[in-house]
Amino acid sequence: MYLNSIHRDQVVNPIWQEEAGRLVVLVQTIPLPGVHSKDSSFKGIWNEWVAESASPCTGDNNYYRWGGPDLAWNPGAGLLSFRFHISNAGQYQLGVLSRETAEEGSCFVRIDGQQWWILPGSGRESWDWARERETSPGQREPFNMLLAEGFHEVVLSGRSHGFLIDRWMLTQNASDFGLNSLPASGVRPR
């Protein structure tokens, strides 16, 4: 079953454009509202993602570290929302280039406002593509979906303290996950 696209009027900039069955988005392109602190939260900065560059994936870009608490069963904190446009409808696999800093690490992901999924990391000592969702404790499956032509949204949410994320990708070609430095997709012109 295809995920339906959302209304154009409900989409705001930026909107990334899929091309040739692939979409790559750097998480740092969604700026954080500021540096979280107890005091700044009263001014509306509740987002506990931290922009860092100490252990870069590709050398020149920041990544985000979840500086909030472990939230085993509670998605919704530190939302990072990315809108994009699909021109080539079909089956895609989602992956998040990530790195675990603890025994286990993961984040939450959902597509087009549907249910949240746990996306476990797959790299403790190095950056790697997390591209499976957890379907029950210890059970995973490829994070595949059918996407209709039109506008869609991926939302990431913090789960494991210290989990690092660099970029996410939707691709029709699983061999893309062998590459960590695929260039970011372009933004759709208004």
Partner: protein, 202 residues
């Protein structure tokens, strides 16, 4: 699970009233149910007498002092007469007791704007005492808490509540112009109509 066309409660004579259960829960949370999409850790309960509707909601999730956005409950209301309204919530709050951490707060926001921390300063009994906390200074006696006053234009508005402290209990919401009676438990909830547009979860 959110309604696609949720109820919009209508302000009349300077007052909107609705029960917390007007935002339905997707089901009973368990770690197993989470994998089927039931992440919301509000628990609909009736064990404690004195609630006004069919049940009250208790935040059964973790303490998340600085992380708004968990277990979001969404409500819509229509303001006919624009002006300044005070938002109050009927709650059952718990002060810090030995072995039982404090549970007196939640997060609240309107129309997708910034989250605010809201707290009660009356504990152990149902009360309508609910205020913004705009900063925190434990050396003072609740100096940072101010009434939740907000100007609403004519039209439909969205209110969201998010869990903060395990054990906090919410029962009813009142949005009323100052001087308008809103806390009389004999008052019925406001009339409502279905939201004219399909609402999306973001």
């Amino acid at each position: 699970m959110s309604h696609e066309h949720p109820p919009v409660f209508v302000e009349k004579n300077g007052r909107v009233l609705f029960d917390i259960a007007a935002s339905p829960l997707a089901g009973i949370f368990t770690p197993e149910a989470a994998y089927k999409g039931i992440w919301n850790e509000w628990s609909a309960e009736t064990e404690i007498a004195g609630y006004t509707g069919d049940c009250y909601y208790r935040w059964a999730g973790p303490d998340v002092k600085w992380n708004a956005g968990l277990g979001v409950l969404t409500y819509y209301f229509f303001i006919d007469e624009p002006g300044v309204y005070q938002i109050t919530m009927r709650t059952l709050s718990r002060d810090g007791e030995p072995g039982r951490p404090r549970a007196n707060g939640a997060f609240m926001r309107f129309n997708g704007q910034q989250w605010h921390k809201v707290k009660s300063k009356e504990h152990g009994e149902w009360s309508w005492n609910f205020m913004y906390e705009h900063y925190h200074d434990p050396s003072e006696l609740n100096p940072s808490r101010v009434p939740c006053l907000r100007h609403f234009d004519h039209g439909i508005h969205r209110m969201e509540i998010s869990g903060r402290q395990n054990g906090m209990i919410l029962d009813r919401v009142a949005i009323a112009q100052q001087g308008v009676e809103a806390h009389n438990l004999a008052l019925p909830v406001s009339d409502s109509f279905s939201h004219p547009e399909r609402t999306l979860p973001w």
